[in-house]
Amino acid sequence: MGDRDAFARLYRLTSPNLFGLALRILGRRSLAEEALQDAFVNIWRHAADFRPERAAPQTWLAAIVRNRALDLLRASPPEDPPAEDPEIETWASADLGPLEKAMAGDEAKALLECMKRLQAKQRQAIALAYYHGLAHGDLARHLAEPIGTVKTWIRRGIEQLKRCLEA
């Protein structure tokens, strides 16, 4: 399999999920297309940086796409706050069952189990930061809570996740 073929195949396989991610973060199709394009150009150029012993291919790819999407989000912030997102509602609810099918790999499952143990507010804040690129200030506005409260949710959430993931 030549490099070009491998690259085309990788694109076919992974682009729907990664485009879904970029759309989620950016909320605008044209920007999400731009993020996906830039990300795959980076993947092609930086393929040599991929270290199979340090990262799984899926998370490596997702990180590249998300980082590019976050750059574009900061360069052109949306005029409106993120629309109601049913998937964030799920993260904020007590029942994470609907997420189990999509997060079926061992590592994803372990993360989901640990997310289940967080308070719903902590989970919601982490999901909003990850999927919508909201910073502390945006989170406070979006959730109508004091910024100190939101920072504490994130901080405690990370601490608890770390203990749970490494248990």
């Binding site: 195949r9 694109y11 682009s15 999920n17 079926a104 930061a129």
Partner: protein, 234 residues
């Protein structure tokens, strides 16, 4: 801030990956990370964890024009003066992983409606020229029994009076353990023999040797090793 405090380092690394700090605070952390490999390592940990959340996103197929532009933009990059392309082995690693991903997705799609346990690992067995010959999927059921679903690709050329035998190469360096004979066409399910179960992990190395028909008469590989691969954990 005391950047040596372990809890604080963990939180800052996690927040950096989530992207909840902007501007000066973010840039300060990036400078810090450049000279602190331990911090960089914690960032990699959180990148590997939080980016698993991407799996929960509903997929949306991008319009074809995205790929057209990607192809155009990367066509030029390829004619560059070497540089990154000197590390071709890494690129090959990615290519191989891509075939692993392909199998992973095929297996996911294929297994979804069945009540079977999800695959725990996948491998592509390829020859020295990286021509893939078999795909292997490891399934571990509730009782911890392990099975391998093996599928021959069209490139497998049967050899008269010979069989292809699959071996587990234990991480410990112990002698190869037979996992059974591979089909020359189509698929087969191999129940992993009891003595191979403890050594077979989701990332085990596998090899295929050419043996007399019916398999090695000695219990150890007797013929040349023609194909190899390593399971990729799912």
């Amino acid at each position: 801030m005391n950047y040596q405090d372990q809890t604080l380092r963990e939180i800052l690394a996690g927040e950096y990956v989530l992207g909840t700090r902007r501007g000066a605070a973010r840039r300060r952390f990036e400078r810090l990370m450049k000279k602190d490999p331990g911090l960089r390592e914690r960032v990699e940990f959180w990148e590997g964890r939080f980016n698993l959340l991407a799996e929960a996103v509903s997929p949306v197929t991008p319009p074809e024009r995205v790929w057209t532009v990607v192809e155009d933009r990367t066509a030029g990059a390829r004619r560059g003066d070497g540089g990154i392309w000197n590390a071709l082995s890494f690129w090959r690693g990615l290519a191989l992983t891509a075939s692993g991903l392909a199998v992973a997705l095929m297996v996911y799609v294929g297994l979804r409606p069945a009540p079977e346990a999800p695959p725990a690992g996948v491998a592509v067995l390829a020859d020295e020229a990286r021509q893939a010959a078999w795909t292997v999927t490891l399934v571990v059921d509730d009782s911890q029994a392990k099975r391998l679903k093996v599928t021959a690709l069209p490139s497998v050329a049967p050899k008269p009076d010979r069989s292809f035998e699959l071996w587990l190469l234990p991480e410990s360096g112990a002698a190869p353990v037979s996992l059974g004979l591979l089909p020359e066409a189509g698929s087969a399910v191999l129940a992993v023999p009891g003595k191979a179960v403890p050594a077979l992990s989701r990332t085990s190395a596998l090899a295929v040797s050419l043996e007399p028909r019916g398999g090695s008469p000695t219990g150890a590989p007797t013929g040349p090793v023609l194909y190899q691969g390593r399971l990729l954990a799912l």
